[in-house]
Symmetry: C2
Subunit: 418 residues, 2 copies
């Protein structure tokens, strides 16, 4: 019977306790460390509890540490200590791993122990283990995912309930799908942490999350949603890892997808991952991206995996511990959606078309819905371009914003054809 | 370096050879047995080849046997021999396993070896390993899948190209998605073999495929497809395993699904599996259901799994080797779609409505598109019922077919609301 020490008795920690009490499992949670352990004595029951990490760290009978505290500094200290004491570690902390993973995984390897982090990426979807074990010998040229449930929920509600961003965000907060401070989610950074971990698997080398091109959903307005819906498209926050000629290109950004796209029907707080293997073709995994029991089940499956003494190629062998420097997405081509805030006056479209043409950008379609009567308020102008270099598009935006008639270019989104 | 013996050098066997030559893998195919090994000498190259099974079976250096021959009698003999000689076995032969699995898995267990069969169920989708390893401790109340690519291809083509069944089937045969004799696929039996293997995992007991309620797609006409499309529905051949109060209910049959259903967008020869876990919620896996390299990759992943000495709960422990007797789907409720072939004459609808009402079946909607001018040809009458017991529906069909005005009831399909 494996003895497990649990740090953090929040939502996921409580979920894990619930599952482990319900099922006949070959492990036992023998100690819990939580700041508010005194308040939670009804939950901890007869399990030893404390707010002092040494309860677990100094117990030589504990073989495996589960870290579900959140934050950075304290969990980092705890994981380091646990690894040094040759305890296996399981964590759901994607921020911590994306930030300090290189050092931590190396330390784990040096100490002959493992770090399980299935719960850190895409909640209940067992994507890490599938990439580690089943698809290790695949050559994966493309991976795309909806890796953040909060933003997917917000974008879904904006479309289905015709709500502005701020109101959809408030709904998500009320339902517990968004934090009081939603920055990490809505900025795309949380998805970037997860994408870095996935891309490291695919490239078998370490990807820094800071090297990922990241844009959030904060500037998406209901108008963008309505227009894309009218055109038969949808907007999703897509995390993307593509390998071309040995280079890897990484991005997290709101993107337009067309009907038939694998991620078309992934709604609300669900997560999904699609990837293209050289041998086995396209795969899609869909599941709950968060939640107490779904995330706890991923922790449980890591515990079982480690207790069964299974091999783990990612951590144990075959992995090249070197940094991988991604290529620049600016060098890649795409069609784009753009929303410009323009003055409603004669000659505007001519000016804009001229700038785009000077940057070799060809307009596929244009859309403006201003009232017949000319007003002095700026209005939205929607443009869809043909395929062009992102670099050209970005230079053209700088040039466009210099035009007197263009107030700003608040939104541009690539059109994802995969 | 593990030594592998390969039986059968057809599409999948050749795919496996191709992958194993391209990648740096810790195993080697050292012997090939194939009926036409002489004609295939360019493919076998410097690997020992023969049409005599003893080339592999009598070689004590061969630890693992891959059986990709097809058929029943010869592979059954070979697998039995291999297991008796304590060789691990990997097979893609779902018919064989569904028919003889109980005896074969028991024999493998007695001899301390394993049978891998990822490639036998849903092609490239790693559903067996996910159920065996990751979701072993889940309580799965419902599993649904599109487990047969041929029938899904035919149903997709009927809808998108407005083709009658016979023509869509011919297309599938031309493209290699259907066999010259398509009976196993179109009758639903192939899907039933796979469902039996999946259901055995979920129930952790042996399910006989013969105990599954199976209906094929042979009677689906273009008219059914067109009408359901007009109503906003789709028809898919759904394999289904549901646990209610400890009883398991199993069916393979063409069913109507509504928009938003997980299987809505799974088109052409793709396969998909959806299941509902008590802890981790709903999961979906989508991927290629067949093909040389996709299926071969599943064989490869089984080889790697076995060579890594990983535990395998399904085969090694926890599995209760007893037969499980499913409940009768006739005792379950569903709404139904029915197509009746009726005479176009006064009073027909009254007669039909009376029979249904006598069986406590309530009509939700009715649809008939006969020409204004009454003819003496029978016409299609489409009915959608409210929820009713399948038993009542089946009895009512017998009664309906006794009416003078009803020629037959060629099609009835449950409406799958999950």
């Amino acid at each position: 019977m494996l003895k497990v020490g649990l740090f953090g008795l929040g939502t996921v920690g409580q979920g894990l306790l619930e599952i482990s009490r319900n099922s006949k499992l070959p492990f036992e949670i023998v100690a819990i460390v939580d700041r508010s352990y005194k308040k939670k004595s009804k939950i901890t029951g007869n399990i030893a509890a404390s707010d002092n990490p040494s309860l677990i760290l100094d117990d030589n009978d504990i073989d495996l540490v589960v870290e579900l505290m959140g934050g950075i500094d304290l969990p980092l200290f705890i994981i380091r200590e646990a690894l040094d004491k040759k305890k296996n570690v399981i964590t759901a902390n994607k921020f911590l791993l994306a930030e300090h993973g290189f050092a931590l995984f190396t330390k784990a390897q040096d100490n002959g122990v493992k770090i399980g982090f299935e719960a850190a990426v895409a909640g209940a979807i067992p994507v890490i283990r599938n990439l580690e074990n089943i698809f290790w010998y695949e050559d994966i040229s493309l991976l795309e995912g909806i890796l953040n449930g909060t933003t997917n929920y917000i974008l879904t509600k904006m479309r289905t309930e015709k709500k502005e961003y701020e109101y959809a965000l408030k709904d998500a907060q009320k339902l517990g799908f968004a934090e009081a401070d939603p920055t990490l989610d809505v900025s795309g950074m949380d998805a970037a942490h997860k994408l870095a971990l996935l891309a490291s698997h695919i490239t078998k080398s370490w990807i820094e999350y800071k090297s990922i091109y990241v844009r959030g959903i904060e500037n998406i307005r209901l108008n963008d949603i309505l227009w894309t819906e009218k055109a038969g498209y949808r907007i999703r926050l897509i995390s993307r890892c593509q390998r071309i000629d040995g280079k890897v290109y990484l991005s997290v950004e709101p993107s337009i997808i067309l009907p038939g796209h694998y991620l078309w029907d992934v709604e609300n707080e669900n997560n999904a991952i699609v990837f293209q293997g050289m041998y086995s073709g396209i795969h899609m995994f869909v599941g709950k991206g968060a939640g107490s029991l779904p995330t706890a089940y991923s922790v449980l499956s890591d515990i079982m995996h480690i207790t069964q003494g299974n091999h783990n190629p990612y951590l144990m062998h075959n992995f090249v511990w070197r940094y991988n420097h991604p290529g620049s997405v600016e060098d890649k081509e795409s069609a784009f959606y753009m929303r410009l805030l323009v003055m409603d006056e004669p000659g505007v479209l001519a000016d804009i078309a001229k700038v785009l043409s000077e940057h070799s950008i060809s307009i596929a379609s244009v859309h403006q819905d201003a009232p017949i009567q000319i007003s002095d308020h700026p209005v939205d102008l929607i443009l869809i371009t043909h395929k062009c270099l992102r670099k050209s598009l970005q230079t053209s935006i700088t040039a466009l914003e210099k035009l007197n008639s263009v107030k700003s270019v608040p939104v541009f989104l690539p059109i994802d054809e995969n």
